[in-house]
């Protein structure tokens, strides 16, 4: 009983901590990795709430695929930034 309460309490604290860190992180890559970790801990929380269906969906879609999509979007954003910087003619840098 005490063990279960302790585990649940740790889950709640970990979720709040991960959510806060993901929101406050200035680095987007760190934020995405924290978001994926949040999804995995959330899946554990769904298992503890006896909702294995939701846990499966959370782990597969919430953590896995959304994380992959966010990372792909970040890679494209970085590519776009690089291209904009490359395309800038030399003269405009004086401004």
């Amino acid at each position: 009983m005490v063990l279960q309460w302790g585990f649940d309490g740790m889950l709640v604290l970990a979720l709040l901590w991960l959510a806060w860190r993901a929101l406050r992180s200035p680095d987007l890559f760190t934020a995405i990795v924290l978001f994926i970790a949040f999804g995995l801990v959330m899946a554990l929380a769904w298992v503890r709430l006896q909702a294995p269906d939701v846990a499966l969906a959370e782990a597969a879609i919430g953590a896995g695929l959304t994380g992959a999509l966010l990372l792909a979007a970040l890679a494209r954003l970085n590519d776009l930034d690089d291209r904009i910087n490359d395309d800038q003619p030399m003269g405009t840098e004086k401004k």
Partner: protein, 235 residues
């Protein structure tokens, strides 16, 4: 002077925000505390009617039978999301990335067959245990993402009509079954109990394929461009 004004404004707006958020938190807390502790819920009605649904897992029964309409619309949302991504442009250049390292080269060869098997298992087991079309579809989508990461690009011949047919198959199958049931004289998605299990499996199989390919196509991040793929293969 102006900077001072600005900082004063931002400080004031922060306090207003804090006040509003506190009011919202108090309101939400009050609403939660006002809820009756014993909400009746619909669990008992689902349990009573589970015999007629064609499956024994209550979650699948609700998603595909009792509230099949919602799932039909969800398939539509997924398709519209992909159309939105496609309308933004074709595949970015970075798809044509350098060949991956030996680990990423070998991993998909080992994992993709296992992932396809797991997807099939989740689809089948959804009738009587946790699982179902969305979980199976996302596992299939993960296999697609892994293949794309390893530098695999879809074949030119598959990119046109075949890809579109598979993407629309889930929604199409759902819609066809619903329409046929209406023509037979029932309500939309009101399965005859004897056929319910088969119809649900049929819809879920098409939906799994569609969801998996849609998620992989979302990861690709653009409309597959036939010309560019052809140029790439001719090199």
């Amino acid at each position: 002077m102006r900077a001072a004004d600005h900082s004063w404004l931002s400080l004031a707006s922060r306090w207003v925000l804090l006040l509003l958020l506190s009011a919202l938190a108090v309101g939400l807390g009050y609403a939660v505390l006002c809820l009756s502790s014993q909400a009746p819920g619909l669990g008992e009605r689902v349990a009573e009617n589970i015999e007629t649904s064609g499956v024994s897992n209550p979650v699948t029964a609700v998603l595909l039978n009792f509230r099949g309409y919602d799932t039909l619309l969800e398939m539509g949302v997924l398709l519209v999301a992909l159309l939105g991504v496609w309308s933004l442009g074709s595949i970015p250049e970075q798809c044509e990335s350098p060949p991956p390292g030996p680990v990423l080269n070998m991993l998909p060869r080992l994992l993709v067959p296992v992932l396809i098997l797991v997807a099939g298992y989740l689809l089948w087991v959804g009738a009587y245990a946790p699982g179902g079309a969305f979980q199976a579809g996302s596992v299939l989508g993960a296999a697609g993402v892994l293949l794309l990461l390893a530098g695999w690009c879809p074949d030119v011949r598959l990119v046109g009509l075949p890809l579109r047919i598979v993407l629309a198959a889930g929604l199409g199958m759902f819609f066809t079954v619903g329409m046929v049931l209406i023509l037979v004289g029932r309500q939309l998605l009101e399965y005859p109990p004897a056929l319910a299990g088969t119809l649900i499996l049929l819809i879920e199989a098409a939906a799994t394929l569609s969801i998996g390919i849609t998620l992989a196509a979302l990861f690709l991040g653009g409309r597959p461009d036939k010309e560019r793929l052809r140029r790439r293969f001719s090199h």
